[in-house]
């Protein structure tokens, strides 16, 4: 059994890589945890695609404003310096490459950077994509936050996605509970291995060759 960091540790690890001044969209689900680990003494501006830049934390009970929600339809707040805009402007902001970082969940990521996170493709499933495909192409860097393996032990980092795609060649980096990988030239390149994970152990877990870390550590 190799080392795995927790979901919260992973959120904290991702937060470290987001520099001050970044414009960031945190996808619904686990990625929203990253917000809790952004340093209080730095200004990082959160975007929610339903029309707000400068999103603040969850309000206290009694101060919940039904007009002020995030893309997950949860109550949020707005910071000083916030701005509201309509849906076409908001998605233009993403599609136009103005966000620095999106953090998204995944069912699968392929070594060419394809992302599958919107549909299991199960027969009879009702398709519902929301903003997933827009987010997948919606930032200069698209980070995926995911376990390396499914609960059944299947790798989520794959040669080619078998689930329906959300975006093609769109993933920049994958943060998993075992290690962090960049997607470079059609391969996963190890950026950081947690605990006793090694390139060899990781390669065995996912059944793919893994490029070694870049000499500079970058």
């Amino acid at each position: 059994m190799t080392t795995r960091i927790t979901r919260l540790e992973l959120a904290a690890r991702i937060a470290v890589d987001i520099p001050e001044g970044s414009y960031v969209n945190l996808g619904i689900g686990a990625p929203t945890l990253v917000a809790d680990y952004l340093p209080d003494d730095q200004e990082i501006i959160l975007h929610t695609e339903n029309g707000l830049l400068g999103m603040g934390p969850t309000p206290v009970t009694g101060s919940v404003d039904p007009d002020l929600i995030n893309a997950g339809k949860q109550p949020v707040t707005a910071l000083a310096g916030a701005a509201y805009f309509h849906h076409a402007d908001s998605f233009g902001m993403m599609r136009g490459g103005h966000l620095d970082v999106c953090v998204l969940g995944a069912f699968q990521v392929s070594q060419s950077g394809d992302l599958a996170n919107w549909s299991t493709g199960a027969p009879g499933a009702i398709p519902a994509v929301g903003g997933a495909m827009d987010l997948a192409i919606g930032a200069k860097s698209v980070y995926v936050m995911t376990d390396l393996l499914t609960k059944a032990g299947e790798p989520k980092l794959v040669a080619e996605c078998t689930y329906p795609l959300t975006g093609v060649g769109c993933v920049t980096r994958v943060y998993t509970d075992h290690a962090v990988f960049d997607v470079v030239d059609g391969r996963f390149r190890l950026r950081e291995a947690f605990g006793d994970n090694t390139p060899a152990s990781l390669a065995e877990l996912i059944g793919l060759d893994i490029a070694g870390p870049h000499p500079s550590g970058m």
């Binding site: 695609e49 919940v64 995030n70 509201y84 309509h86 998605f91 519902a128 929301g130 903003g131 795609l165």
Partner: protein, 251 residues
């Protein structure tokens, strides 16, 4: 004198024909034209195509319109939710058509309709099953799919304030689809908390100019706003906290 105000929600939705395409604003509860949807339920039009981000929640509002068999087709980005059982059942039994559109493409297609754009190349969805069969093209090294505008006969929109010319301002993330849907429909019907005198909206801050609006109806202020100031004390659905917890469902 131009006066686009109408006395009540029934007058606001009068004349919507069977078979119409109706855009409904809102993202979650925010910006949902609740009173107009209820009026449309009473008004009786059927065979509708609904363009909206979602496909109804619980048993009220849009979900009720669906349950009554009045909707033939839904164009939306996210029909499936924990409480979309009405839509789910209709879809599974083949009683309703669905076109799923990535949310940004949905917004841009609505905007294109309002802005007279014939079609546009978008990178969103390219290479996925939602772009299957669509025309694609590589431009400057990036692949795009061609998407067409979505026009409507009627748009139902919720805003904070409006004047008799139809100028509108919204509140926070309740803005969402309202401003673009208002541009894309032959007839745009708006519910506001309050109709204010002409000239009291700052012309720098008007989000929807009245040219896009045909009818405005005041539906009264919400419990969590007193004189336009946020006072809270409600849950995310706008239910008073005491009442919500009495119902045992504050989510």
């Amino acid at each position: 004198m131009i006066d686009k105000t109408v006395p009540d929600a029934a007058a606001a939705v009068a004349g919507i024909a069977d078979g119409s395409t109706v855009m409904i604003g809102g993202f979650g509860r925010a910006g949902q034209p609740v009173e107009l949807i209820d009026a449309l339920i009473d008004q009786g039009a059927s065979g509708l195509t609904i363009v909206s981000n979602n496909a109804g929640n619980g048993d009220i509002g849009l979900a009720r319109l669906l349950a009554l068999g009045r909707v033939r087709r839904v164009v939306c980005s996210f029909p499936r939710q924990h409480d979309s059982w009405v839509f789910d059942a209709l879809y599974r039994s083949g009683e309703i058509e669905l076109e799923v559109v990535p949310q940004g493409n949905l917004a841009e297609r609505i905007r294109a309709a309002g802005a007279g754009i014939g079609a546009f190349f978008t990178p969103t969805g390219v290479g996925t099953e939602l772009a299957a069969g669509k025309e694609t093209r590589t431009i400057d090294g990036r692949e795009y799919a061609l998407e067409y505008p979505i026009h409507a006969d009627v748009a139902l929109v919720s805003a904070l304030k409006g004047d008799r010319w139809g100028n509108l301002v919204y509140r926070e993330t309740a803005r969402n689809f309202g401003p673009i849907m208002a541009t894309a429909a032959a007839t745009t019907v708006v519910q506001v908390d309050q109709i204010v005198p002409l000239g009291s909206l700052d012309p720098e801050s008007v989000v929807t100019p009245g040219i896009f609006v045909d009818r405005v109806v005041a539906v009264g202020a919400r419990a969590w706003l007193h004189d336009g100031a946020f006072v809270g004390g409600v849950d995310i659905e706008g239910r008073p906290l005491a009442e919500a917890s009495a119902e045992g469902d504050g989510s």
